[in-house]
């Protein structure tokens, strides 16, 4: 008699604990809203400049849920750039998610429903917040993920609303927000000479491709060149006796 009873209590305790962990993840990510809301707004404005209606702009934030992928492709939607190029760009910009998924799969061994839910909400920010506070837990990953999902979509809605109210976004310098978002994310990553070299190589290659009229693959090509330079030079400096890194 007592056994099922105590099993229920234990299950309830696990549930309450998971609930607390979920909220810890949710609240822990809130500081990142300071980045998510403005970049979500920038995307909303960019979508309006690209001629997307607010509902379609919001749909993209709900199903794609990636700042870099959305900001880099939104202006290309409906311009005749092949879908393959758009998908390849979105994937390349998010390759790190594959690595995060590998870590989650190894450490948590999630069940199928857990995988399907976690894959919907996985971002770098959510992973960083939940892995940065003690051992990685699925509940905190989901909490942080949902928090980012809400912040990003709220920012998108705000940006769409502001964009719809402005007569001409170009007059206010708002067409510049997309490169500015990328710059704001990039600059803090340039912490070593190698990183600076990678950025320069990738930027120059992208510029060259754009000048040659290959603008639609400038991002992928530049990225490829940058990665090659980084891999080559970090292998060199990783050899014994070499300075740095």
């Amino acid at each position: 008699m007592a056994q099922p009873h105590s099993a229920i209590i234990a299950a309830a305790r696990v549930d309450a604990d998971a609930g607390r962990t979920f909220w810890r993840g949710f609240v822990g990510l809130l500081p990142l809203w300071a980045g998510a809301i403005p970049s979500g707004m920038a995307y909303g404005l960019a979508a309006r400049s690209a001629g997307l209606d607010p509902a379609t702009a919001q749909l993209m934030s709900l199903v794609v849920f990636s700042a870099t992928a959305q900001l880099s492709t939104v202006a290309l939607l409906g311009t005749g750039v092949p879908v393959v190029v758009l998908v390849a760009t979105a994937l390349a910009l998010n390759l790190q998610l594959l690595l995060l998924g590998l870590v989650i799969g190894r450490t948590l061994r999630p069940t199928w429903p857990q995988r399907l839910a976690a894959a919907w909400l996985l971002t770098d920010g959510a992973f960083g917040v939940s892995a940065g506070r003690g051992p990685l837990r699925l509940a905190s990953l989901l909490g942080a993920g949902l928090s980012m999902y809400l912040g990003w979509n709220l920012g998108t809605g705000l940006g769409s609303a502001i964009g719809a109210a402005l007569p001409d976004p170009h007059r206010f310098g708002l067409d510049l927000v997309v490169p500015l978002v990328f710059l704001a994310v990039l600059v803090p990553l340039l912490r070593s000479r190698t990183a600076l070299g990678v950025a320069l190589a990738a930027g120059l290659a992208a510029l060259l491709l754009a000048r040659l009229g290959l603008g639609s693959v400038a991002v992928l090509g530049g990225g490829l060149v940058g990665c090659a330079v980084g891999t080559w030079s970090s292998r060199r400096s990783a050899s014994p006796g070499a300075p740095g890194r």
Partner: protein, 97 residues
């Protein structure tokens, strides 16, 4: 062409990418690949900055100045809202001149 198709295609591809890692927990990548993947964010973001600026900067070189100010603010503060506010402000002021 309706934007819905590309949007759903990108969403589906990213969902599979997010799921993919969790389905292959025992996969180990060669060290060179892991190192190359580590440079993906820096390389792609830099290419994105250049390609998103390239079109407009050719017609309006003042945008490069606004971008430089933003890069400086990003270096000093690392705050998204401060970067966007300063960049848009500088671009707006330069257009008044």
């Amino acid at each position: 062409m309706s934007p819905l198709g590309p949007i759903l295609a990108m969403g589906g591809a990213l969902y599979v990418l997010r799921l993919g890692g969790m389905l292959l927990p025992d996969l180990t990548l060669p060290a060179t690949w892991e190192r190359a993947l580590g440079w993906v964010p820096v390389a792609l973001l830099s290419a994105l900055v250049v390609s998103s600026l390239a079109g407009s900067a050719a017609s309006d070189p003042r945008q490069v100045l606004a971008a430089a100010v933003t890069a400086g603010v990003a270096w000093r503060t690392r705050r998204m809202w401060a970067c966007l506010a300063s960049g848009v402000l500088v671009a707006g002021l330069l257009r008044l001149v």
